[in-house]
């Protein structure tokens, strides 16, 4: 169930990477911001977290579009190292500001903390709801990319930006939208995460590591691959935590990245 949320984070990262060509290291920080968004909406104006999940999609989409227009579009044609270092700078800027204003206190949203039995197993309410939400959003994203005209344009930009431009697609606009969608997915994943896990300023780092593992597992720019990759990482983590130790489970993302890059650099699934 964790895996479905990881998949959301990973899909956002792989989408931006594949279409815009920027490796967004600050991706995890937007997950953190999403979680804080839900937390503050809940504790200040008592907004239902489920509603803030919906609200976070347009809010973070807009934030992403703004960031891309102002900053990252300039890096599209440059060496990838520039984008890597710039987004890293953005990442530490955001988490340090979050730490400064919201302190290091561990926070959580106490919502749907009960559980219910089903088919002889006990399920936690919040985990079931977040799983459902994550699946819903992933499905919506896949359908959007497959059938809508914007989705088609985005895929065209990802496959070959120059030809797409010749075909009359505004690739600049598509990159902007994609970046917005990527940040939107990260923010939404953050709000969903806030339903069940603790929130703290440095949480982005753990999610970015997993997101990279997922992207590498699924293959660069492969949305379906990221979905499956997310589930694999989630399950692996659960199994190792259960049978080996929680400490060893933290090595999984790094180990996955190294192994996959060495043995099958195109990811598990060919496009």
């Amino acid at each position: 169930m964790l895996g479905s949320v990881y998949a959301l984070v990973g899909m956002g990262l792989t989408l931006v990477w594949g279409v815009v060509g920027i490796v967004n290291i600050a991706h995890g920080e937007f997950v953190m911001l999403g979680a804080y968004f839900a937390f503050w909406a809940f504790s200040l104006i008592h907004l239902n977290p489920l509603f803030s999940v919906l609200l976070s999609i347009p809010v973070f989409f807009f934030v992403g579009v703004l960031i891309h227009r102002q900053i990252t579009e300039r890096l599209v044609k440059q060496h990838e190292l520039s984008a890597l270092i710039l987004t890293f700078g953005m990442s530490i800027l955001i988490w340090n500001l979050a730490q400064f204003f919201w302190t290091n206190t561990y926070r959580s949203v106490s919502f749907l903390s009960g559980s219910f039995p089903l088919l002889g197993l006990v399920f936690s309410q919040s985990k079931t709801v977040s799983f459902g939400l994550a699946v819903l959003i992933s499905a919506a994203l896949l359908l959007f990319l497959k059938y809508s005209s914007w989705g088609k344009a985005i895929r065209a930009t990802s496959q070959n930006p120059d030809v797409a431009l010749v075909c009359g697609i505004n690739t600049r606009k598509m990159r902007m939208i994609t970046f917005g969608m990527g940040i939107g997915l990260a923010g939404t994943a953050g709000t969903i995460i806030s339903l069940q896990w603790v929130i703290f300023p440095q949480m982005g780092a753990t999610y970015i590591a997993k997101a990279f593992a997922i992207v590498v597992l699924g293959g660069l720019g492969n949305i379906h691959g990221a979905l499956v990759g997310g589930l694999i990482i989630g399950v692996l983590e659960g199994v190792v935590t259960q049978y080996v130790s929680a400490k060893m489970a933290q090595i999984i993302p790094s180990a996955t990245i190294l192994l996959i890059l060495l043995l099958r650099p195109t990811g598990l699934f060919k496009k």
Binding site: V23, F88, L93, K247, I251
Partner: protein, 316 residues
């Protein structure tokens, strides 16, 4: 021609005075300044070492902390547990790191671009986690860390790192102005093209990787001897990778003296920031990084070359 020679003599004279001044620092400066200069030179070696590999080949090494941590661990454990003399322990750490780097380089340098950067981060983070687990605890003392005393005086440490920094700059200068440096730059510009021209790209990359690992590893050993303490989260800290990269970018990537200038300026900026805005230190650091990439991608030396203040010469 005559003016050039005169300029050359002046430069050599200036350099000689500078070196004499740096050697003499422990005789008149306070301990604060000595430690500050020790840090400047440690980071100068890190930055130059990073630049030697990444600045020339274009392969972004995001695992500099791995070199530092591995070498630091080997030498610290040798000193702490086996009572080695520091002068013996440092090279052993660095040589050990270089030897492992041969293997790591053979495996990871086949991976290109961003993937290489990520795999190096993964290697560093993975090693950090692994060194902290109970499986490695008999060797590494686990996550508790190893406090130790190497019995070295501050001035001696200072001279050691000064000598290393001096050697590093000379090595960088030699590499950058040699044909070997040119071959590495060809890899940066167009790896396939380089291969077509008959350059054994993998071999060249690995030798540069090992050289970088050796220099950075040696500085790493000195760093932890100076700190008298080592633990996994400290030795493989991502900041140890990033600070040298920022310094290099600041001074000018792919130049000989850029990392050096960057290290000097940045250590002082760091001191001021740390004293003035401790809470927001990382935020300011991040903002500087973003600003550098957006408005100043060439770095200080690159900018001066562009403006014609310095000659466009790869010996600088």
């Amino acid at each position: 021609m005559n003016r050039l020679i005169e300029g050359g003599i002046l430069i050599w004279l200036g350099l000689a005075i500078l070196v004499a001044f740096l050697i003499a620092i422990p005789y008149f400066a306070s301990d604060y300044w000595i430690t500050l200069f020790i840090l400047v030179f440690i980071f100068a070696v890190y930055a130059s070492g990073w630049n030697l590999f990444s600045g020339l080949t274009g392969y972004t090494n995001f695992g500099l902390a791995w070199f530092i941590g591995v070498s630091g661990y080997v030498s610290s454990l040798l000193i702490a547990d086996y009572g080695f003399f520091w002068l013996l322990a440092w090279p052993i750490g660095a040589v050990f790191t270089s030897i492992i780097s041969i293997g790591v380089g053979h495996i990871l340098l086949r991976i290109k671009g961003v993937y290489f950067a990520i795999s190096m981060v993964a290697l560093t983070e993975g090693t950090r986690e692994l060194f902290g687990t109970k499986y490695f605890a008999p060797i590494t003392h686990g996550g508790l860390g190893v406090p130790f005393v190497a019995g070295i005086q501050l001035p001696t440490l200072y001279w050691a790192i000064l000598a290393l920094a001096f050697c590093t700059v000379i090595i960088c200068y030699k590499v950058f102005s040699s044909k070997y440096g040119l071959r590495l730059m060809t890899i940066r510009e167009d790896e396939q093209g380089a291969e077509t021209l008959g350059i054994h790209t993998t071999r060249e990359k690995i030798t540069a990787f090992i050289l970088s690992a050796f220099l950075v590893g040696l500085a790493g050993s000195i760093h932890f001897t100076y700190q008298n303490y080592i633990d996994p989260s400290f030795a493989f800290n991502i900041n140890l990778t990033l600070t040298p990269i920022v310094m290099t970018l600041f001074g000018g990537i792919g130049t000989v003296f850029g990392p050096l200038i960057g290290a000097i300026l940045f250590t002082f900026i760091h001191e001021i920031l740390w004293a003035e805005v401790t809470q927001l230190y990382m935020a300011v650091f991040g903002a500087i990084l973003m600003g550098l990439i957006l408005f100043f991608p060439q770095g200080l030396l690159g900018w001066m070359k562009e403006k014609g203040i310095l000659p466009k010469n790869r010996k600088l």
